[in-house]
């Protein structure tokens, strides 16, 4: 099981799912219509490192984080 966390304003509780790669996570999250705009504008981190490819492999215990648009300062 991997854990999916939604950061900042997405305000959705974390979920857990089976996933071998980030593509599996993408496929599952796209089924949630409310998430669609956030998928468009969020960056993705695996175990707190930003990633750039859907082929990123996942193993049980991994944490996937969605980071929506930021504005510090």
């Amino acid at each position: 099981m991997v854990r999916i966390e939604f950061l900042g304003p997405i305000s959705k509780p974390a979920i857990e799912m089976e996933a071998a790669t980030l593509a599996d996570v993408a496929k599952a999250l796209r089924e949630d219509a409310e998430l669609a705009p956030w998928l468009e504008n969020s960056a993705v981190a695996v175990n707190d490192t930003l990633v750039s490819g859907l082929e990123t492999p996942l193993k049980s215990g991994d944490k996937v984080s969605l980071l929506p648009p930021v504005c510090g300062g």
Binding site: E40, V51, S65, L66, G72
Partner: protein, 149 residues
């Protein structure tokens, strides 16, 4: 060197402590950038969420970049509510050389705005309203949305 506080920053105390921490380090230039919440659009203040693990690694990477130029960075940011005319952010560089300090404080603050995992909300009638119009998608965003999977 990265300090997070609940609520507004005590700017004079931070600027003083940082200055004194480096008083004998032989840096020739010290440039703090202080961000203060403006009274505009009828807001009562701003509120901030921070994702610390990635903020820390982002800051550590910048500290390494600064070290390559003989400089060091310090930063403080608020969590939660900060009212108008209070300050929520200080970034500071210490460098032997003026040019390095002037260049890096600008690069650091601009990358902070574009990359640091902090989310801003307007405080309006006591409610937190996500400041989506002022927010920037982190580079590489949209990975999970594409039709390519």
């Amino acid at each position: 060197m990265l300090e997070l506080y609940d609520g507004a920053l005590d700017v004079p105390a931070l600027l003083k402590r940082w200055y004194e921490e480096e008083a004998q380090s032989n840096y020739g230039a010290y440039i703090p950038f202080v961000g203060t919440v403006r009274d505009e659009n009828g807001i009562e203040g701003l509120s901030f969420d921070i994702y610390e693990p990635i903020l820390n690694s982002w800051f550590d990477a910048w500290q390494e970049r600064a070290a390559e130029r003989g400089a060091i960075l310090k930063m403080a940011h608020s969590r939660g509510d900060v009212l108008t005319h209070e300050s929520s952010y200080i970034a500071a560089i210490f460098s032997p050389k003026r040019r390095v300090a002037l260049e890096m404080i600008e690069e650091f603050v601009e990358d902070f705005k574009a990359s640091a995992p902090i989310w801003k909300y307007d405080l309006i009638n006591g409610e937190r309203v996500y400041a989506d119009d002022r927010s920037t998608a982190i580079i590489g965003s949209g990975l999970l949305a594409g039709g390519d999977a």
